[in-house]
Amino acid sequence: MPDVSRRSLLRAAGVAGAGLLAAPALAACGTSSAAPLRSGRAQISLWTHDPDYIKTFRTAIEDVGLMRGSRFDFGLDITSSAPADIMTRMIAQAVADGNTPDLAGLNVDQFPRVMQSSIAENLFVDLTGTVRPLGDDLLKLSPYSVDGVPYGLESGNAITVLYYRQDLFDTYRVPEDLDTWEDFLEHGARLSTDHKVSVGMISTGDNGSIVNGFLQFLLQRGGGFFDAAGDLILDSPEALEVLEFMTRGVRSGALMALPDPYGSACAAALKSGRLAATAMPNWYNTAGLQANVPEQKGRWRIRTLPRFTGGGHIASTMGGTAFAVLKDKPNSEAALELLRRVYLSREGQILRYRFGGYLPTLASLYEDPELVATEDGYLGGQKAFGIYSAAAADLPLFYQAASMQILSDVLGGQILDALKGRTSPTAALKAGLKAYRQQVKR
């Protein structure tokens, strides 16, 4: 028997290492041997970034009325993580050992990551059959659909309305019912010159925030980044009009340029009363205003957005979170039922509104007497559903595509340059589109 050489030992160690690494990878390629759960105790593994979802689902599974007639006795294993990490870990787990969650909350800006290479199709349960009975009553499926197939159910519509300080509007004589953005900016420019007060904000921080701000207005104007087929439609007169509107607003001071609409500078602007209005989603009430300026309770109100003279909608929509069910898992059927009960029933939607402030995604619920009668203490007792109802009826459709992140990266800097006056809106959009086309060629 020959002596073992150093070289052969090292080689053997390398092979052993590769074998150890390959074993779980090969194991992950196999199908799960566990049988699907049809009834009984269902311990659902839930991944989310928001404590309010945890509270909502925990309350929901204890709600006898909501769970009546279910074949399952639900329990929850919660994993809390940052939105981007949820997606990254979920894909990594799917590759590694299949230990993915049963139910996952996906941020709207993370969803494009699963829109390529059939990832959504391989990971998530197709919800077509689940949502079909609801027809047009179910709002906002489009951002979470791939090739027309929905894979996630939106939690709260994220309807963008105009928040405004009624006391400051009274003081500075700004009419609350200004019809168009043009009129609104005119008053804003006056307020900025005379009192250093702005009537809106534009994000100038990271690319995501900059582009989201632009997209929000673009959707309201009737434009968008992509159509239902995933084709780019940014090269449009609406896009130019919106960017010119934003640029004009920033230059006149009507729109305040802030790095982060949820950051410390924005809180300072709110506290100092330098921000008298802002177009933001419904959840900004709790996450932005009540969190930063609780002392301004009763001074804020909401209304639908002023229109663009050229047309469009009276509201917009952006960020949100959709829940998706992971497919081919023992708990897939149970998780789908839990999601259906909490997200697609009247009781579930009202429970979500009460616990997390998530607006219903069923259009019919905006006429629900119980919700319509709800008064918002922070908004001076305003019956906000009157506004949300009108907004939900005119909500633009928002489509995403796999290359959404690339577009965001290349467009952010260009939009910022236009807002800062370093380039023209036309040149900015042109440069952004050129860079996008170069990068998506890959």
Partner: protein
Amino acid sequence: MTAPPPTRAPVLESLPARTPGKAAPPRTSWWMRRQRTLAPYLFISPFYLLYGLFLLVPILVGLYLSCTEWAGLGTPKWVGLRNYQDLLADHSFWTAVGNTGLYVVFTMAVVMPAALLIAQALNARGLRGRDLFRLAYFMPVVISPIVITLVFGLFFDNEFGLLNAVGHAVFGFGGIDWLGSPGWARVTVVILVLWRWTGYLTIFFLAGLQNVPKELYEAADIDGAGPVSRFRNVTLPCLRPVTAFVAVTVLVSSVQIFEEPYLLTQGGPGESTLSVAQFIFRAGFQRQQLGYAAAAGVLLFVAVFALGQLAMRVLGVGRDDR
């Protein structure tokens, strides 16, 4: 195929006959001899196993992935060297390379000398509150990155930032768009790097300074050397090993810079502060272009390795000058 081992004569038969009065050598079995041969390798094998598992295998997998197109799920599609070709034509990649180069040059040219000068000051005899200074300089390394982001974000904000407010109050200028202008955003990242790492490097230099023999300074004093001459002719030569170590580690880590631009500007405005490590992160974990990210990772690895080797040769790390 392995060739069969050559036939040998039986060992025991070839031994000379026993001499009376002398103790016979202990008889060793094949298994005992084998154990004796294997034992050292077994003792050191955990290192090689882990080295292979966590270093060699990932590198090889990374190399393979860099020649594929893969979104994370499904089978990677072999594309050969196309990812490398695309990288070389990618404007964003070159922006990231340029920014990273700027961070490296700044770290080597400003942060390191600043750390050395602070260490020299802290090493002065009779300095009161030395530990307090050391704490103050070391503190940035241990502060949570989230806190740093929040504080720096507000500190450098164009509208509500402390820096602009002070600038306006004291000098009367209108303020700088620290985070919104591409040029100033780079400066801001560089300031963050300076603030964060100078104190950390100071600790290394301070340790080195405390090992410089006092006799050398006394001899220099007798020769009439002034402070600058003492620093140039005594301190710097004695600190050469520490300087070389710091330079190599700083070079290697600053080529891989990620945290500072990611936290402060997310690589923006636009891509003006994007680093190569961020470019890789973005491709892999925001765009699901894992093959492309792996190709950029391989290039970064080659660059770090080459620069590290170059620095070690130039600075004479591991070379015995005696």
